[in-house]
Amino acid sequence: MTEPFTLPELDVRSLPGPDDIVRNQLPNDITLLVRENYSSPAVVISGSLATGALDDPAEKAGLSSFTALGLMRGTTTRSFESIFDSIESIGASLAVGSGMHTVQFHGKALADDLDLLIHLLADVLRNPVFPEPEMAILREQRRTALKRRDEDAGARAQMAFDELAYPGHPYQQPSDGSIETLDAISLADVRAHHQVHFAPAGMILTVAGAVRAQDVLSSMQDALGDWAAERKGPAVDTPDAEAPGEMLRKDVHLEGKSQSELVMGAPGPARRDPHFLPAVLGNSILGRFGLYGRIGSAVRSSAGLAYYAYSTVSGGYGPGPWQVIAGVNPHSVEQAVQLIQKEIEHFVTEPVTDEELLENKANFIGRMPLQFESNEGVAAALSHIERHQLGLDYYRTYPDRIKAISAEDIVAAARQFLDPDRLVIGIAGDTGESTA
């Protein structure tokens, strides 16, 4: 439809804001954010600790991940079976894992069971013992998972991209390591890593659901208020990433794959970068809006080359990638690469049109009520504003921030990070090489 339209006018008071987010900070520097929501009897908790794969020694890559997964294998007072019995018997869930910058946790329960969940979370974060038999089983599970990752075309294309896009940078290696580095990690390493890096300072806990904020705070103070561990290791800073100086490409041969996976782009803006919001809005035009934006239109709709072809901006603490991802027939790889390169060239050369800008702004603003419909959505949003220090009024001022972005802002962000003649390309699939 091409008739004129205007940006939606939201009642921003329905969005999370200072008057309905309760934020508390404990003396040990744990921050709690709660938003009450009584539309269903459930509650979600999520959050993070200020340690991650950045703290891993290179030869033991995956240590943070293995440690985080081992937290729930037993504590000083609870066995593995007792931990999961207490969760699963009430239909709750709790999982802990590690990314590059943080150890993250996520749980869900009926509202009446939140206190149990918070105390269990506190116990596994504070008092894990990493029991040998359970860790041996976990090690085999990790080995299998890493093997399957290495057989997965999408994962291998991303790894090839990261290897070329981040030379000498922590992002060059996957945060979950490799089978070789897993084998190099001892149980003593895991226990020491926990001792050194797991501490309350910088921990974020967010809660959304049918619970009173005051009750959550009481539970949290009881379970975590006396956690006094200090982080002993130095925090590892995230260095900037250099833009690629030329076209860089790596093809990974995986025998028997019917489809090739393609990752193409360059290091992008960190969340704190002023270019971040223009880049995200511009990326929507490039590879998301409608069914995958301009790239989806060129690669999927017009050429029929792919089931999916879209682009992402990672943001986050460091210079995560701004990349296009596509799954294409092995015979169509070169054509897809050319089409994507052409779209990136167009994107950095000419400002987006007024219509594109307007309709993408309308999407960003109009979709906000849907993002906050679920407890998961709210908990993730609260974590996001705390992690990046965006302020409790961030979502209420977000429509105005989006409205203020110009076509020039977008093209400036695009030029800062994307050069169509200096891109990184990672491809994985059956290249026709025979390994027989």
Binding site: S39, F80, E88, S93, Q141, T144, G290, G366, S374
Partner: protein
């Protein structure tokens, strides 16, 4: 016309079933149109046609040309998608409440006016082939496809929803258009909406949008029942990936059969609780019998169970990823010990109570969002009535350990299963 538990149900003169549920927790409305057509209704030569038609429904009408719909939905801050499954095809839009008219207009329009432009059919053929090739990259898909094909010799559940490559390469535009016209009829569809609206006003809008659509001739149903299975079936699949996988598929009852929920309890005890809602994840299964036997027992890296609510009898499937130091045969042996146990001893009172508590919690999670509430309205209508959903917990609580033992003995027999094993090729390259 009826109203029960806040759900208003009616049928328009053209046969369209309408379900409306007011939910005023957020300024959001989710609207779903469900068609009673899926891979169950397909025959050899045109397998995958329901899924392909679903793709074509995004390729435009005269009023909403290709590409315009995507932009229109996105511009209004909504999201939409569609799914094709064994028994049904569903389209949904979740929108800010004041923008929902667009969903009504486009769904009523594409119920009857999709173009199926030959050029669009041509380019979509390669997109769908690419989708299938993406699936084929996964050894799990290749194994599942073979197991399903071996489990169903006659019934159309034989083939995957995506369809066979031979048919994707040869199906014509006319095949697709005929399938569309025969199945996208008001009397073959359910419109389910939940969200921030007034039922009375929404009914008027629904009548305005859909009431004028002419119903067509009912298609001829050619469902071929699967004959009884007389013995275990085994398939092996080989490929370049090294990680072995085991998939054991038992013949299971239809969703409306009295044995279905006791089998769901059995699944919960054996492999862990899971939700029937496609959009809701389950919980961990580390206290389930199979986790203890296979993972703690050092045989497998993961295990899961899968029971699907279907119109006709389908499968209860148990999937395990084998540890590198074990074989599929080892895992099957360990699995069979647990299968024997559940077929000979009643589950404990504690296990039964736990399964019911888990189901209650998952039920609450899976009804949390407005999109999910609208999903349930239409989804249950595809294989039962909405009271299947409304009475689900009540019926579950009535199940006894003896019920579970009875269904275990009836369904978990070797003669009623298909065993699939994936392993690395022993030499040479497969084409």
């Amino acid at each position: 016309m009826s109203e029960a538990d806040g759900v208003f149900s009616t049928r328009l003169d053209n046969g369209l079933e309408v379900q409306l549920k007011e939910v005023h927790t957020a300024p959001v409305i989710s609207s779903w149109v469900w068609y009673r057509v899926g891979s169950r209704n397909e025959i050899a030569g045109t397998t995958g046609i329901s899924h392909w038609v679903e793709h074509m429904q995004f390729k435009g009408t005269d009023r909403f040309p290709a590409g315009v719909l995507d932009r229109a939905i996105s511009r209004d801050g909504g999201y939409w998608n569609a799914y094709t499954w064994l028994d049904w095809t569903a389209y949904y839009e979740t929108m800010p409440a004041d923008r929902i008219q667009l969903a009504l207009d486009l769904e009523s329009d594409r119920m009857q006016n999709s173009r199926f432009d030959p050029d669009e059919v041509h380019s979509e053929r390669t997109v769908i082939i690419s989708e299938r090739q993406g699936h084929e990259n996964s050894p799990g898909f290749r194994l599942s496809e073979e197991v399903q094909a071996a489990a169903f010799r006659v019934h159309a559940y034989h083939h995957e929803v995506i369809g066979d490559m031979a048919d994707l390469e040869t199906m014509s535009r006319d095949d697709l258009y005929t399938h569309y016209r025969q199945n996208y009829l008001p009397s073959n569809a359910v419109l389910a909406m939940a969200g921030d609206f007034s039922t009375e006003e929404m009914l008027t809008r629904v009548q305005d949008a859909f009431g004028g659509i002419q119903d067509g001739d009912a298609r001829i149903q050619r469902i071929r029942p699967e004959p009884p299975q007389h013995g275990e079936r085994r398939v092996t699949v080989e490929g370049p990936e090294e990680t072995e996988q085991l998939l054991v598929a038992y013949r299971a009852p239809a969703a409306t059969h009295a044995d279905f929920l006791p089998l769901a309890v059995l699944d919960s005890v054996l492999a862990g609780a899971s939700s029937f809602n496609f959009f809701s994840s389950g919980i961990s299964n580390k206290t389930s019998r199979l986790y203890k036997a296979l993972i703690d027992g050092g045989q497998a890296a993961s295990v899961s169970g899968n029971l699907v609510a279907t119109i006709d009898p389908f499968l209860y499937q148990i999937h395990a990823t084998v540890r590198p130091d074990r074989t599929s045969g080892d895992v099957l042996d360990a699995l069979d010990v647990e299968i024997d146990r559940i077929c000979t001893e009643p589950i404990s009172a504690d296990e039964l109570a736990r399964a019911i508590r888990q189901a209650s919690a998952l039920f609450a999670y899976s009804s949390e969002t407005i999109t999910n509430q609208a999903f349930w309205l239409g989804y249950t209508a595809m294989f039962a009535e909405y009271d299947w959903f409304e009475t689900y917990l009540e019926r579950l609580r009535a199940i006894t350990a003896e019920d579970v033992l009875r269904v275990a003995q009836a369904y978990m027999r070797p003669s009623q299963r298909t065993v699939g094993m994936y392993s690395k090729s022993r030499g040479g390259r497969d084409d």
